[in-house]
């Protein structure tokens, strides 16, 4: 048993954290997050140059990672800095593309960060489920995809569609004819879009779509959960610091027992969340049932603890926690919104209960 990360992973994590400390202040994150692009191209390229994308993918596609712990280390570090750049969509869509064993020319550009890709699967009526209606008629894709991450600024989109009863996956150029991208801001920073596809032509990917989607979404769940963990660690640091600095009634807030107990509760819940992430990492390469159970356990825990930590941290801060100017609120928003992506607490509780 060994709960320490390998030397290489620790090194990568430190490199990302150092970059955030020196080159990624929250103010510039906010400028990028609320820009037309939804992130900073400059930060994207600098972060890509650190090798993040290579760490997310395995050797067989020229990456140097791709394991659960690689993904977790990267996203926890990104979470601590509230990084808004589109690494999550790169991971999910990239994982599917990597699975094909083809399109290596495109993949090289994705690894280096010179091209970007996203995944368009879920739909307005599908909620968190795989029940899609987008369909293929005479080799053309038509339908409505919702909340597609950073669709406004990618080069490629992987689109799922039904051919009869069978789900297939297609590589679509963002500039394709018949593709309308209705892009908007998200409350946690960055952008997403609803896609209206009207007879769009794409290249069919030669893989079993259900399996590829499940694997990619699983990695996405892991990434989101690790990101949430990084955010929670940062919120913990902010909150402890605040109650040690702020005084009311002539006493540091941290001296009030009622508040001490609430902070203690947050600390132990975050430890539980960390264990859930570790469990999910180590189950990622195991059989389907073990893997899916661990991923649902992880995302469910993150959803529950994330809401608790966000709400308690704001309450412990009082009015200052409600302001835009102070950094806590932005971390809290992203933390809570992670529960709105790839299945919330209730969704994963139900999914887990079916696997008991």
């Amino acid at each position: 048993m060994d709960f320490t990360h390998t030397e290489e992973r620790r090194l990568l994590s430190n490199t990302i954290e150092k970059f955030i400390e020196n080159d990624y202040p929250l103010q510039s994150r906010m400028v990028g997050a609320s820009s037309d692009l939804g992130f900073s191209l400059e930060s994207w390229q600098k972060l890509s140059d650190l090798g993040i994308n290579y760490a997310l993918f395995p050797k067989k596609v020229n990456g140097f990672g791709g394991e659960g712990f690689d993904i977790a280390v990267v996203f926890e570090a990104l979470g601590k800095g509230l990084v808004v750049e589109p690494f999550l969509s790169t991971l999910i869509a990239g994982d599917i593309l990597a699975e094909t064993g083809e399109h290596q020319d495109i993949f090289e550009n994705i690894l280096s960060g010179t091209k970007r890709i996203t995944f368009a699967h879920f739909e307005p009526q599908s909620g968190y489920e795989n029940k899609i209606e987008t369909s293929i008629i005479s080799n053309r894709i038509s339908g409505h995809k919702s909340m597609v991450q950073f669709a406004n600024s990618v080069d490629y989109i992987i689109v799922s569609a039904k051919d009869g009863d069978q789900i297939k996956l297609f590589l679509v150029k963002a500039s394709a004819d018949g593709l309308k991208i209705n892009d908007f801001q998200t409350i946690d920073g960055g952008r997403a879009a609803d896609l209206i596809l009207n007879g769009v032509i794409g290249t069919e990917l030669d893989i079993t779509a259900e399996n590829a989607i499940e694997a990619a979404v699983g990695k996405g769940i892991l990434a989101l959960s690790a990101e949430a963990l990084g955010i929670m660690e940062y919120i913990k640091h902010l909150t402890i610091n605040y109650v040690q600095t702020r005084s009311q009634f002539g006493l540091q807030l941290g001296k009030f027992q009622a508040l001490q107990h609430r902070i203690a509760q947050i600390l132990l819940e975050i430890e539980q969340a960390r264990s859930a992430v570790i469990n999910a990492c180590s189950a990622l390469n195991q059989d389907k049932k073990t893997r899916e159970k661990a991923l649902s356990a992880c995302k469910m825990t993150i959803g529950r603890v994330g809401q608790l930590v966000a709400e308690e941290a704001i309450q412990l801060h009082g009015g200052i926690g409600m302001t835009w100017e102070y950094e806590l609120g932005h971390y809290a928003k992203r933390l809570v919104m992670i529960d709105h992506d790839l299945g919330d607490e209730d969704f994963h509780t139900k999914k887990y209960s079916k696997l008991l």
Binding site: G319, W324, K350
Partner: protein, 398 residues
């Protein structure tokens, strides 16, 4: 024991409902239905409609041109306002300043200021909290120094809701540093248009600009703007809090929110089934509905005691805690119901006259913003922790 309203109260409820049905402009009711923010015109417009009917002073006695309604009737009125998708009455002048003036102000002050609240001449905001005085309000430092027939005010207030619309602010200011901090506080009304007053907006977590900092630099205030006695302001502020029992739990608003939420849960589908058929979501709905049902009766029990003239104890603190918990849980569930679209953030789509592309269900447009914004309700007006301190002191004597 009878938990039902009397025949007279039911007739009153009917009368209010009938009036509201025709009185609320459709454009306003639509905004409320869709949880869109109101601007000053919207609020003033609604105040004027109620004032024309003679119902704006819903908690005021008849001698000040109020309705003279008893406390249960006031509760019913608030309940019906929410139920009819009516805008909330802006409370600062009508429900916060006015009771203090009536109880502790002079005849002259009442005669001058109260009609101006009703007719909209004055828009009031509340200047209590300061950067260093939040939960520990009594440590406030904004000073008012007597200089002949005026006070000179210096300091800073914060979290001042709707100060950007107000021309008047009622404040707690320090007039003495002798004795306990509570003993040197006075209640002073200040004209926001006076030289030396500066309002700076504070952007909130959801991107809204509803609260402000208010700065005072050598602001001259007529001594006649002092309410009651110098150094007794703390007593007046406490009087206000302990007498706020009819709407502090916002039962009416929560009932309406729950009704809307259930309607949404019946229409929204998950995996082909209505959301309300999802056992986990339904259990969450059931719990909040049960809590709200209990809270309504708790609130009515408090009002019934108050009608008999009982001295208020910690009831308003209890109601505030319970009401904020229900409110925040309802906001949480609406956010949860928004699922993937809960992340949408398009303030431009909430503006009057927006005719761009609609994306996602209507309630998802504001669900998360409201959820984050209403984290304030367990913080403002004395945080829930402070309310629990009050309860422990007053009831358990700890």
């Amino acid at each position: 024991m009878d938990v039902n309203f009397t025949k007279k109260q039911l007739l009153f409820k009917e009368e209010v409902r009938n009036f509201l049905r025709s009185a609320i402009p459709k454009q306003l009711a639509d905004k409320i239905e869709k949880n869109k923010p109101l601007n000053k015109n919207d609020m003033q417009n609604w105040h004027n409609i109620l004032n024309d009917k003679g119902w704006l002073g819903s908690s005021w006695p008849k001698k000040y041109n109020g309705t003279g309604w008893d406390i249960v009737e006031q509760f019913i009125f608030e309940d019906e306002l929410a139920s009819a998708n009516a805008p909330r009455i802006v409370p600062f002048g009508l429900k916060m300043l006015a009771p203090v003036l009536m109880k502790f102000g002079t005849q002259e002050q009442c005669r001058y200021w109260l009609p101006r609240i009703l007719d909209g001449t004055d828009w009031w905001c509340q200047g209590y909290s300061e950067p260093g005085a939040g939960s520990d309000l009594a440590s406030l430092k904004t000073s008012a120094v007597k200089d002949g027939d005026q006070y000179i005010v210096n300091g800073q207030k914060t979290w001042t809701t709707l100060a950007q619309y107000a021309n008047m602010i009622f404040t707690l200011v320090r007039t003495s540093i002798e004795g306990k901090p509570q003993q040197g506080i006075s209640f002073l009304m200040i004209n926001m248009l006076s030289p030396g007053v500066e309002v700076r907006p504070i952007k909130t977590i959801d991107g809204g600009e509803e609260i402000n900092e208010v700065w005072f630099t050598d602001v001259k205030v007529p001594a006649g703007n002092l309410v009651g006695e110098e150094n007794k302001g703390w007593t007046y502020a406490k009087y206000l809090l302990s007498h706020e029992r009819n709407n502090i739990a916002t039962v009416g608003i929560s009932k309406k929110k729950l009704e809307k939420l259930k309607e949404i849960a019946r229409v929204e589908t998950r995996n082909g089934e209505p959301l309300i058929a999802d056992p986990l979501f339904a259990a969450r709905l059931a719990k909040v509905e049960i809590n709200l049902g209990n809270l309504e009766t708790t609130n009515l029990r408090v009002l019934s005691e108050a009608e008999k003239g009982g001295d208020p104890g910690a009831e308003s603190s209890m109601l505030k805690i319970l009401g904020s918990e229900v409110c925040q849980e309802l906001d949480h569930l609406l956010r949860r119901a928004s699922a993937r679209y809960g992340r949408i953030y398009r303030p431009e789509a909430l503006e009057d006259g927006f005719n761009g592309q609609e994306i996602g269900p209507f309630f998802a447009q504001t669900a998360s913003s409201i959820y984050f914004n209403n984290r304030k309700v367990s913080i403002y007006g004395g945080s829930n922790e402070i309310q629990k301190n009050i309860i422990s002191k007053m009831i358990v004597g700890l």
